[in-house]
């Protein structure tokens, strides 16, 4: 037995996450994407202080103003409102509408998935077949169908998106839990006579949480696009609220007049969705336990 391992390895509790942080920081692309996200999130939170102008202040003379116009540095929209301010304020609404549904779906889907995975048998069958029904439809189509049935409005849009993300998250949670449960350390824990709740808390959730959280984070990028899509179709946020999808919809008639300004909300959606994707991928890579 090689009794002398020089490096005194730390417990995974704190040391593990420190290692994840270190490995994440070593990925330049992921770090850049994280910076982008940080800027977007901070500006969304501080929109009231950061935005240079009132996002609702119209100006007839500056309708579809070009990028670089004084007072409308990123141009003006179809009513002459400041694009920069609307993008910053819109980020707040768009991000909230994208993140809240995934967070709620994480709680519901995570619970259902872990339950199905740990219980197995008939319980698994019942839960996962219901999830399969949701899975049968493309996510955007499902969101549109549910939002359409519930009627327009921000809350209804969020409910629709939540229902869309429950199934994929439940499926990932179920498959990870099934894998974890098959490990001998769970068998050993069951042999000890420990109550199921304690086994779930100490042995299962610990090992399931990471991959499921990373998957949920990656779903935020889908959610940003889906949320914008709902607003674009008039099923989410209603005017005059600033929202990237809504802005894109309103500006699409201006595409031939001032394509650069019209493309800005789309670019914001793309950038955020991409950044979320890259960051979640980076976290996933940093979390891999190397043996």
């Amino acid at each position: 037995m090689s009794a002398t391992v020089a490096m005194p390895a730390k417990a995974p509790g704190t040391g593990y996450w420190r290692g994840v942080g270190r490995r994440f920081a070593r990925q330049p692309l992921a770090m850049a994407a994280a910076m982008v996200l940080l800027v977007v999130v901070l500006s969304a939170i501080g929109a009231d202080w950061i935005a240079p102008a009132d996002p609702f202040q119209t100006s007839v003379s500056r309708r579809l103003a070009a990028i670089g116009t004084p007072g409308r540095w990123l141009g003006g929209d179809e009513l002459g409102r400041d694009m920069l301010s609307r993008l910053i304020h819109g980020g707040r609404v768009s991000l909230a509408m994208a993140i809240v549904p995934v967070a709620v779906a994480l709680v519901i889907g995570g619970f259902l998935g872990v339950l199905a995975g740990y219980a197995g048998g008939a319980v698994n069958m019942a839960i996962m077949r219901v999830m399969d029904v949701f899975y049968a439809y493309p996510s955007i189509l499902l969101a549109v169908a549910i939002a359409g049935a519930l009627g327009p409005g921000m809350v209804n849009g969020m409910v629709a998106l939540t229902l869309v993300f429950v199934a994929p998250i439940a499926r990932v949670a179920e498959s990870v839990t099934t894998q974890v449960r098959a490990n001998d350390y769970v068998v050993a824990a069951r042999l000890s006579g420990a109550p199921t709740s304690m086994i779930l808390r100490r042995h299962v959730l610990n090992n399931v949480a990471g991959p499921v959280l990373v998957f949920a984070a990656s779903q935020v990028s889908v959610s940003i696009i889906a949320a914008s899509g709902l607003s674009f179709l008039g099923l989410g946020v209603s005017p005059p609220q600033a929202d990237w999808g809504l802005m894109l919809s309103a500006l699409r008639q201006a595409l031939y007049v001032n394509p650069w300004v019209a493309a800005l909300p789309g670019a914001a959606i793309f950038l955020c969705s991409m950044a979320v994707n890259i960051v979640s991928d980076g976290i996933r890579r940093a979390m891999e336990l190397r043996r």
Binding site: D184, A189, S192, G193, N207
Partner: protein, 341 residues
């Protein structure tokens, strides 16, 4: 070492078998009608303070048998009696206190330790589940690490990734011992280890058995290992025991043709006694569709018409020596009956 959990009581005295397994059966349904008979009527018993070695080829149901005995895998039929009291019978749940009595050590030391727990946390989990305060459980875990030869100051806070295979297996043993069991089911505990480490872990197991008054069921495919640790040996073939005898007897006078073939297939350390042809030909039959009568007959050199029609009983041929073969049954109708044994 002061254990925070009370010792489980010895009920029947030294003459009562520690563990008796009767008619254990587990069939896995594949699809519709096809069924794998993984364990199909398993009978054996283990005396207190001894080690029963269970040997057999891969896929003969050894590991499933261990999980069934531990009550972690549901059995279709049979019962396990622990020191005169039913440990479990079909449909019954085992209470947490009774559960402590039978613990397991697994072959794969990787998947048997939670990657996000330290060695001490893994060991302390069981006692904590039985109401021991975290602080006391931690001290106990450190004492157990010491007992299995891992200085706690260096090893208590290590995750499994920072342990070698042998060290992980020692942690596994400590975790099983933390509940103060009476029976330890060792499922190929040293098969994944280097030979030098294997010897250390085996010696540790032998020492602990005497120190803690344990009874072992030691499952292995390695005959040399079994010869070293076991007092009694049971040979399994396709989910059934075909021969059980004290180790000294079975290694000196194996009676079942399968046992003889198995022992003959073990390469000798003496190169002049190298064997030319493998004594058993081919793979074991499909457990989905086992042969009629004696299950070994398809690979047995002594098979006769009788072997296909009747299942040989596990009969006593000498004190404590039981064999399931028609050749050992006098006047069974087999031409070799009474000759071979």
């Amino acid at each position: 070492m002061k254990a925070p959990l009370p010792a489980l009581p010895d009920r029947g005295g030294p003459a009562q078998p520690m563990l008796t397994v009767n008619g254990l059966r587990r069939w896995f349904r594949l699809d519709g009608k096809r069924v794998i008979r993984a364990v199909d009527g398993l009978d054996f018993s283990v005396a207190k303070g001894t080690t029963l070695g269970i040997v057999g080829e891969s896929g003969c149901g050894k590991s499933t048998a261990a999980k069934l005995v531990a009550g972690i895998e549901p059995a279709d039929a049979g019962e396990v009696v622990l020191d005169g009291e039913v440990f479990w019978a079909r449909g019954a749940r085992i209470g947490p206190e009774a559960r402590r009595a039978v613990q397991m050590v697994f072959q794969d030391s990787h998947s048997s330790l939670n990657p996000r727990m330290t060695a001490a946390e893994s060991i302390a989990f069981g006692p904590e589940a039985h109401g021991v305060k975290p602080g006391a459980a931690r001290d106990y875990a450190r004492a157990l690490l010491e007992a299995v030869g891992l200085p706690p100051d260096r090893f208590a806070d290590r995750p499994p990734m920072a342990l070698s295979g042998g060290q992980r297996q020692r942690v596994n043993i400590a975790r099983a011992l933390a509940l103060r069991p009476r029976v330890l089911l060792l499922d190929e505990p040293v098969s994944a280890l280097d030979k030098s480490v294997e010897a250390q872990v085996l010696n540790l197991l032998v020492r602990l058995r005497a120190q803690l008054d344990l009874t072992y069921v030691f499952i292995s495919h390695d005959l040399s290992v079994v010869r070293y640790v076991a007092d009694e040996v049971a040979v399994m073939y396709l989910g059934q025991v075909v021969e059980q005898a004290p180790a000294s007897v079975i290694f000196a006078r194996p009676s079942h043709p399968y046992t003889r073939a198995l022992f003959a297939s073990k390469p000798s350390v003496d190169p002049r006694r190298r064997i030319a042809a493998p004594p058993i030909q081919g793979d074991p039959p499909d457990p989905v569709d086992p042969p009629s009568g004696c299950r070994f007959r398809t690979r047995c050199g002594f098979a006769e018409a009788l072997c296909a029609t009747g299942t040989p009983p596990l009969g006593t041929v000498a004190p404590a020596h039981r064999v399931a073969c028609w050749m050992t049954v006098p006047r069974s109708g087999h031409s070799q009956a009474g000759v071979a044994a």
